[in-house]
């Protein structure tokens, strides 16, 4: 049977591309607009684009924060993409202070506009960057994905997870090590956009489709 994925549709992001990428990776995408749709899903993707605060406010306005927290506690697979992963954190400093979902310990902070050597650093971090997989033997999300694969990033803020074991992959930008992916029990996250990362991204989405 084709594995299904419910994409949380709360009015942000490019859900069309994500749906198409899931279909290409062998899954059946559905849009989840309500608490019921979230609670009954086999697996969920929480997308997110733009400002953390706007995304968090929109989830709250639609009454979806509690349902996503309950879903996460149910043990079924949850993948956050870009700001969707950042929302897993406790809080963000983007455009003021905002509360996150509190699914992982950590905070979302702005990438410094200066590289570690003091030179100018372009923000947002836009473009293809190499994924450094923390534990290639153990990772589930990056199973079959070559260490050093290029994936597509677009972000000005970055999640800093407190627990190193949650960090599944990193990338290097301006001399800083940024947390690029998360694996923690049933929780998965990508700071990059798998739906925009060509064949490598489709392989990562394909891995997620196999999780139960």
């Amino acid at each position: 049977m084709t594995p299904t994925v419910a994409i949380v549709d709360y009015g942000v992001g490019n859900l069309f591309s994500l749906s198409r990428a899931i279909a290409r990776a062998g899954g059946q995408p559905e849009l989840a607009l309500t608490a019921d749709a979230i609670m009954s899903a086999e697996r969920i993707i929480l997308p997110g684009v733009g400002a953390f605060g706007a995304c968090a406010d929109e989830l709250a306005r639609r009454g979806l924060i509690g349902p996503i927290q309950s879903y996460a506690a149910s043990g079924r697979p949850l993948l956050g993409i870009c700001v969707g992963m950042q929302l897993f954190a406790d809080s963000s400093e983007e455009f003021g202070h905002h509360q996150g979902l509190g699914l992982v310990r950590g905070a979302v902070r702005q990438i410094a506009p200066r590289a570690i050597d003091g030179s100018k650093l372009r923000i947002p971090h836009i473009g293809w960057n190499e994924l450094m997989i923390c534990d290639p033997a153990e990772t589930r999300l990056f199973s079959g994905v070559k260490n050093g694969t290029d994936v597509y990033f677009v972000h000005s803020y970055s999640i800093e997870m407190e627990q190193p074991r949650c960090v599944a992959a990193t990338c290097e930008y301006g001399g800083y090590t940024l947390h690029a992916a998360l694996e923690h029990g049933n929780l998965y996250g990508c700071q990059f956009h798998p739906e925009k990362s060509g064949v490598a991204g489709l392989a990562i989405l394909g891995n997620f489709l196999r999780f139960t």
């Binding site: 490019n14 684009v49 677009v154």
Partner: protein
């Protein structure tokens, strides 16, 4: 190491992919969707779609083309042409675009950049600048495919746009556009050294040497290429091999599935 992005630029006059010289004298090339998919499979890092007649007529024919294209390419897609408002941008983003490029409407109402940035994030907002060299050695921004003067100095406009919320600049040299005679590297350097957001150099690519020049001397973060790809002068994998051999990092492509 930063990867320099190679971005095929498709100028669209619905429903055709077209190409001109200095953004004029348009000639039909083919079906934009087929070209976009071909470039995706060949290793393009992004795709840019510009509806080059939209702002003349104040309407947007691009939505259907965007949706058809986004369905089969899994790399970022920037769409520009005729975007006047947050609502216009939202329609295109929902149709599968990842970023919107604005020129005319941002010149008329610079606050639009801030509105777009607050709503969708700066990463989704590309300021498109059509630059023409002035006799004095600086550049003036134009709109409507290099036809309408704005009176704006390109450097000042780029700096202001960054402050207002643009996340990226698509910098087209009208003088070089479609000529395949090389980028206006001075222009690219003048902007990329003044702003902290990525600059996509556009207009003039004719061969790999031009790519090296605009990256190494213009500090371009990305390079948009139209005519030389559409007419088959240069193939994407060859350009990437050339870049790597020159010590310029570009994205490695996985195997197609």
């Amino acid at each position: 190491m930063k990867k320099i992005r190679i971005i095929p630029r498709l100028d669209v006059k619905h429903p055709h992919l077209i190409k001109g010289i200095h953004l004029e004298g348009l000639r039909v090339i083919g079906d934009p969707r087929q070209y976009a998919e071909k470039y995706y499979l060949a290793g393009a890092d992004e795709i840019i779609y510009m509806d080059i007649v939209a702002s003349l007529y104040g309407r947007n024919n691009l939505i259907e083309t965007v949706r058809n294209t986004a369905a089969d390419i899994f790399i970022p897609l920037t769409v520009g042409g005729g975007i006047r408002s947050v609502a216009d941008a939202e329609v295109l983003l929902r149709a599968g675009a990842d970023k919107v490029a604005v020129n005319t409407a941002a010149v008329a109402n610079p606050e639009l950049l801030g509105q777009l940035s607050r709503r969708f994030g700066a990463q989704a907002v590309v300021l498109s600048i059509e630059a023409k060299r002035r006799p004095g050695g600086n550049w003036e921004a134009y709109t409507d495919n290099g036809r309408e003067r704005t009176g704006l100095d390109v450097i000042e406009w780029a700096v202001k746009a960054e402050q207002l919320g643009a996340g990226e600049i698509l910098l087209t040299s009208v003088d070089r556009e479609g000529t395949r005679s090389g980028f206006d590297t001075d222009l690219v350097f003048a902007i990329s050294s003044k702003v902290n957001i990525p600059v996509i150099a556009s207009g003039g690519f004719g061969g790999p040497a031009h790519f090296n020049d605009v990256v190494q001397h213009g500090s371009a973060d990305a390079v948009a290429i139209a005519a030389a790809f559409h007419y088959g002068d240069v193939q994407l994998p060859d350009l990437k091999r050339h870049a790597r051999a020159s010590g310029i990092a570009v994205r490695q492509m996985g195997e197609p599935v």
